[in-house]
Amino acid sequence: MSDKPDPRINAINRAFWDACNRDEFLLQRCKAPACGRFVYFPRVCCPYCGGGDLEWAQPSGLGRIVSFSRIHRPQHPSFFDEAPYYFIAVELAEGPLMYSRLDRDPESEDGLIGHAVKVVFADHTPKQRLPFFRLV
């Protein structure tokens, strides 16, 4: 569906969204030696130490599910055909929290919180591919 809401691409986030379109997972990382943390969502500065020197780097693409919801009523009609689906919060192995979706329904909701996941890429709109997550 092409009328899904696309993210607004700007100078802060362009590298992240462009990388998604190459099926690459690219996040910011703080270059301050005492910090060095990965950052998501994209920022102009490090939210952990306040430093202004960030570089783009590849995290592992691994994480675990912090919480989830089976969405029946999406916020936009362009998603209605796909509902219900699993919207998830993922704690990436490198620390940041990322919202995404499971690429396919789990067999059971038991043990879903804390379950390991890895990033996969999926079509969103003609303009944009998105990182989804798969149970591993």
Binding site: F41, I71, E82
Partner: protein, 385 residues
Amino acid sequence: MPTGAYDGVYIVGAGQTPYVKRTEKPVQRLIWEASDLALASAGLGWRDVDGLGITCFTLAPDNVTTMAEHMGLECRWLSQGLYGGASGIIGMMEAARAIQAGDAEVAVIVAADAFDVSSHMSMSRNPGQHDYMGPWGYGAANGVFALHTRLYMERYGATREDFGRFCIALRENALLNPNALFDTPLTMEDYIDARPIAEPIHLFDCVHPCCGADAVVLASEAVAARLDVPKVRMLGGGAIHNYPAHDIYAMSAGWETYRDRMFAQAGRGPGDMDFVQLYDDYPVMSFIQLEGLGFAEMGGAPALIRENDCTVRGTLPLNTGGGQLSAGQAGASGGMIGVYEAVVQLRGEAGARQVKDCEHGVVTGYGAVSYGRGPSASACILARA
């Protein structure tokens, strides 16, 4: 003993429009109506107003300054709430400081919106929601708070029935409120069998977007002294934003960081409160507020609700007008409905839903939902003057 943090300031009036599903009235008119009712209840007129604070998600292209112009007000103090449902209380705290400093004598604090489900679903334009949750079909606020609800249930063993008890008590209160949107009882069966929206959130965990407005009037001691109306004082208050900065799922939005100071300002504790007006955008956030304010330990709200009657006749009256869950959420008015209700209760003007002999109450605000949560959390303690 109270510290006198808000000495010299009185809440002298409160007004609320009926909450309705649809209206032909523009939000500017709703703002005027609630403010006009509040001024009338204070025995004041529009020419007395020299301070105005507005929160309204659908006010653009108007803003608080053009609204002062629109209504012909000459104001020395203006403020526009940018903290979502935390804005009403923060606006009152700011207005009180302005009045204490002599920068204003009479301030109207008002919130209004004309909302329906689609405006509720589409209003979230900030980066956190629009760009980093929206593309994945997050379900707007329902999806945001489904994740908190899921984790609260997982962490503390809370059940849907626990949230249901809260919603049912609020509905009982709403049935006594002529301004409330809902006028039929809610049973546990209705609650449990409701259709899923964003599991574990079902229909009656969600507020009903609607149209309405709430306002209060704050005045200096000199002005208040000549008004022959019941008055209310703010004894304590606080706010915090983006807390804790790096833990969205802390099951806290920071009320515990200032509750001791706030209760010390008031010289009162949670046990002295005759009612609590919680920001009930979702039951889980109300539970987290009860815990953050010290009415229960973390994870203790389900037991607190089980052990108390939370209706206006009960041992722990909550959201005595029905709250947003049963009176309705008129957008930004969600941050003022509890303030209005508290002032009316403390003035003894709550009619059939009057909490008997109430003298003190606490009100919370919460909102500005962005990346995964509402970053803004406020609260205040009000008392019969």
